[in-house]
């Protein structure tokens, strides 16, 4: 059959089934959109870090990284440049800061560079002149950032808070996209190196030296650099930051992908249901074509044309929807990652996202449209015209159930033995859900039959008969709701457990202090800095203050992880977060940490380094620090892992700088009142700010919620899609049944009775699908909880989220039932005479 004839045949047949085709289109498009949007979100997250990294490093492949926050001496630069294997080198000072202006503020990365950086060819200063304002002391801001904080004109001052200092920095000019390309959305403040050093209060040092080796001599350059660096700096490839980020963002990206796959599955089932409604027409078409003598290849071409046209149009629509989703809904990056990495807000739409979503969409269309393919090979060419829907026999249902139980067993094994394979476990669990669903539905229909037999009235009987007659379609409809509710409940449950765990961790982290005095900003405890002399004594002298304790902390690049180091004073009590300890005895661990000899590591970190309680561990601090593993803990909410030691031990490795003061107040003193006095004592020009422990805890909790926002968004979207998918699938099914309803009307059953039948069927389908989905969802929640706790070490509070499950269940069932009631009533109004038309 020629392409023209195929197109013509498609067009004329489309007139008879355009509504179902539209439903299928929307279903596939929804799946494609979610798959596409989630991939774009994950890809953008990773690529924004990579883009900034490449934009700065250019053709440099090696770098000397300062181990201590104080940096490495600039004088080292000359020695690096003189190495025989080094072609060029450029110094860089980077520091996390908060940039504020009249319109707002934002966490940024201050990048101090000099003209030599241009020799490496990075986008950051390739088209930017640093010389004209060298010596003036001013900053450059990407135009979007400048507009956001309201510092857009030459000479206008932005306030930069960093290292416990608050300084005014004048704007030299805005950077445009033409100058810095993809870095335009990066949260960076660029300054000449000397000025950045001045802002940071670190005259001389730089945080890293980028190195471009001579061609073919990278290994030699690395060896020379290692010899030169000693213990003050680490030699790494320039892609190191990306590796660290990949580890940090792993949990976010994996969970986003998992939930997107579940959403996509719901969307595709939605489509499958819609296409299933056109199954009789397609089977008749196959029979007609075969009767007229067309070979199987021609019939296959007709079906494949159907599938491809549906798939391509649906994918196009899905890409448009997905683009909108990724622009408006999935745009928020987890804020906690921004504390340790310069995460930009640029969006990256890679070809992989297109290919995966397109393949998914086309496959869904093919699977749905090619369902009647077996008619093509039936001995009797007219077999398909019987119009009878293939019923699921009891032996088939039994075999499916058995396979489902087996799959459930596999999922349980994953849960117990290999929680790291949680995604595979979830996929197996979805398979188990789909496999046992026919048996659950058959049981529910039998239950309805029994119930109907106990009562006088036709509604129950007919509802049971109709559901039994269209078992395969009923299973498909119920499966849509089941998977949607499964996804929503598993995600929401795990999300809630994780949030509760993070809240517990935040409570523990604030338990040893009444007030925090630290540089302002959400992640102010992740870097030490030289605090102004005299502050401690002034604060200690304030009325109501019992003591002022030093708090240190920061980020340590250890292997492929950027870990969080927490170092409260040995006098803090409780020193260790009791609820977060997983292995080891709390009392002895606390004693070891207090003595400055012990350290508590996240369990994943301990496992990665094959450490057991009591083993010695050497941390790659600027002055390598050897401590004894006293206990293991959760990751305290930081995905790459955390370690806890005393402030004194920290000082041995990193130096005496501080991250904060912990202030303990006398009993009965109001925290808020003292906080006001502390703020007054520090003065308005101080780079330090005061915060009560409760306010700090609330801020941490808000950040946790923001970090998990994308999961909440996906869970809500799944619920929304579930309602739409179930409602449209059932409404479509009911609408298709009008001729059958007309026959019942012909027998004398009134409209109200037919409507009740339709509603009862719908509610039963919804209830079976949603309840089964809810039960498996609670199981899925346990699987996810275990993976989060055991693999990534998140502080998860294990629970069975029965109430949220019931709420999700009620929302989907009630909303879909209400939506179905309208077309149900319309369908029940079909004239009885329609029954005589066939």
């Amino acid at each position: 059959m020629s392409a023209r004839n195929l197109a013509h045949l498609y067009r004329v047949r489309l007139r008879a089934r355009w509504l179902q085709e539209c439903f299928a289109l929307v279903g596939i498009a929804a799946g494609v959109a979610l798959l596409f949007a989630s991939q774009v979100a994950s890809e953008s997250l990773t690529s924004s870090v990579a883009e900034l990294s490449h934009g700065i490093t250019g053709r440099a492949t090696l770098q000397l990284l300062a181990r201590a926050p104080q940096g490495i001496p600039e004088s080292l630069l000359g020695r690096v440049r003189s190495l025989s294997a080094v072609r060029s080198a450029a110094p860089l000072l980077e520091a996390s800061a908060r940039a504020s202006g009249p319109k707002g503020s934002e966490s940024v990365q201050l990048v101090g560079a000099e003209a030599s950086l241009r020799s490496l060819g990075g986008a950051l200063i390739a088209h930017t002149e640093l010389e004209p304002f060298a010596g003036i002391g001013a900053i450059l801001l990407p135009a979007p950032l400048a507009r956001h904080i309201g510092v857009v004109k030459f000479g206008r001052e932005a306030t930069l808070q960093l290292y416990g200092r608050s300084l005014k920095a004048p704007l030299y000019r805005q950077l445009t996209e033409r100058q810095i390309g993809g870095l335009i959305d990066s949260p960076i403040v660029v300054a000449p190196l000397f000025y950045a050093q001045e802002l940071a209060g670190l005259p001389g040092p730089v945080s890293r030296i980028l190195v471009r080796p001579r061609p073919g001599r990278e290994a030699q350059a690395r060896a020379e650099l290692v010899r030169l660096a000693g213990s003050s700096a680490a030699v790494q490839s320039t892609g190191y930051d990306e590796q660290l980020f990949a580890k940090a963002a792993y949990a976010t990206n994996q969970s986003t992908l998992l939930f997107a796959v579940i959403s996509a599955l719901v969307g595709f089932l939605f489509a499958f249901n819609a296409v299933l409604l056109t199954l009789p027409q397609r089977r008749r078409l196959i029979a007609d074509l075969r009767r007229e003598g067309y070979p199987p290849s021609a019939v296959l071409a007709v079906l494949v044309t159907d599938a491809l046209l549906l798939g391509v149009v649906a994918c196009a629509l899905g890409f448009v929807l997905g683009d909108e989703l990724s622009l408006h809904l999935f745009r928020s990056n987890p804020g906690y990652l921004g504390s340790a990495f310069a995460v930009g807000s640029q969006r990256t739409v890679g070809w992989q996202a297109f290919v995966v979503a397109l393949a998914g969409g086309i496959l869904a269309a093919l699977a749905a449209v090619l369902t009647p393919l077996r008619d093509l090979f039936a001995r009797d060419p007219l077999a398909a015209t019987s119009g009878r829907e293939r019923a699921l026999g009891s032996s088939t249902v039994a075999v499916l159930s058995l396979a489902g139980l087996l799959a459930l067993g596999v999922a349980t094994a994953v849960l117990l033995l290999a929680p790291s394979a949680a995604i595979a476990g979830m996929v197996v669990l979805v398979a188990a859900l789909l496999l046992v669903l026919p048996a659950v539905l058959a049981g529910a229909i039998r239950g309805l039959e029994r119930l109907a037999r106990l009562r006088t009235g036709v509604v129950g009987h007919v509802a049971a008969m109709e559901l039994g007659a269209a078992r395969a379609r009923a299973v498909a409809v119920a499966a849509t709701g089941a998977i949607a509710v499964f996804g929503a409940i598993a995600i929401q449950g795990a999300h809630a457990d994780l949030l509760r765990g993070l809240e517990d961790a935040a409570r523990d982290e604030n338990a040893f202090t009444d007030l925090w005095v630290a540089p302002p900003g959400a992640y102010n405890l992740l870097r030490t800095a030289p605090f102004p002399a005299g502050d401690e004594a002034r604060l200690a002298a304030l009325p109501g203050v019992r003591s002022v304790l030093p708090y240190r902390g920061g980020l340590l690049d250890w292997g492929a992880r950027r870990v969080w180091v927490i170092a409260p004073s040995a006098q803090a009590s409780p020193l260790l977060p009791a609820s977060q300890i997983l292995e080891g005895r709390l009392r002895s661990a606390e004693a070891a940490v207090r003595a400055g000899t012990g350290v508590v590591l996240s369990q994943a970190l301990a496992s990665e380094h094959h450490l057991r309680i009591g083993d010695l561990v050497t941390l790659p601090a600027p002055s390598p620090l050897t401590l004894r593993l006293a206990a293991t803990s959760t990751n305290l909410g930081w995905a790459p892992g955390a370690l806890t030691m005393s402030a004194a031990a920290f000082a041995r490795g990193w130096g005496p700088d501080l991250a904060a003061y912990n202030m303990l107040l006398a009993p009965g003193v109001h925290q808020g009142v003292v906080a006001g006095e502390v703020a007054a004592a520090l003065g308005s020009s101080s780079g330090l700010a005061v915060q009560t422990a409760i306010a700090h805890e609330n801020e941490q909790n808000a950040l946790s919620r923001q970090g998990l926002q994308r999961l909440s968004e996906i869970a809500t979207l799944i619920l929304l899609i579930a309602v739409l998918a179930m409602a449209s699938a059932i409404a479509n099914m009911v609408w298709q049944r009008r001729p059958r309803l007309a026959k019942l009307k012909l027998e004398g059953f009134p409209r109200a009775e037919l409507w009740r039948m339709v509603l009862l069927e719908s509610v039963l389908l919804l209830a079976v699908g949603c309840l089964t989905g809810a039960a498996f969802g609670l199981y899925g929640q346990q699987l996810l909880d275990r993976a989060l706790a055991n693999v990534i070490n998140f502080p998860v509070v294990h629970s069975v989220a029965l109430l949220p499950a019931l709420i999700s269940l009620a929302i989907v069932t009630a909303a879909a039932a209400v939506i179905v009631a309208v077309p149900g009533y319309a369908a029940a109004g079909v004239p009885a005479a329609v029954a005589l038309q066939d």
Binding site: R453, T456, G468, R740, K745, L746, E747, P750, P831, D838
Partner: protein, 236 residues
Amino acid sequence: MLECRELVKVYPALGGEPVRAVDGVSLTVAAGEMAALYGPSGSGKTTLLLIIATLLEPTSGSVLISGADVSSLSERQASAFRLRQLGFIRQNFDLMPGVSAIDNAALKLFKDLPWRRARERVAPLLERLGMGERLDHPAETLSMGERQRVMIARALSSEPSLLLADEPTGSLDTQRSREVLSLLRELCRERDVAVVLVSHDPLAAGYADSVYALRDGALSDDPGLLAAPVALQRPQ
């Protein structure tokens, strides 16, 4: 039992003359009598059937069942009439797949009777129709003839006073058609049910006690039209 008086049904036609689908039809069918409405396609048979079945309101005239006018009932009243006083048999068997023969036959009784009693009521009817061995067989496993018997059982299950059969043998071979028509006639005579049988099959019309020929919406006494069914030898 059934009396149609001067029934007229006019359909408005776009841009042309209105169509008189039924044109002044009057007929009477007594209890236990089987009347055949015979005529070519487009003669108005189905429209007349729809009017008698309360599915279509006539433009004028009336339909009396046991003396009561049913030609302008409300939807609710019409439903109740069809459920309790009317049986309907069609060429396409409206059986539910996956549901047993006896449950399919008892469908109308479930409205007012408990499940067990409804089945008890319909079981003898099915046995009388030769379906005693097939009561619990799902509809899709039944032969065409058996399915039509189940439909007859359903139509008679509510003990109606009038039975309308629209091309009841359209899907059956001659042998099965003879069996079904014969059974239908016997049962209706036994139960005093008036039967209106609509068909363009001369064989079906041959079983009727009276034959009404329709042409262009009106009853016709065209001997050519009536000749076919009358010429058929009725089985004894």
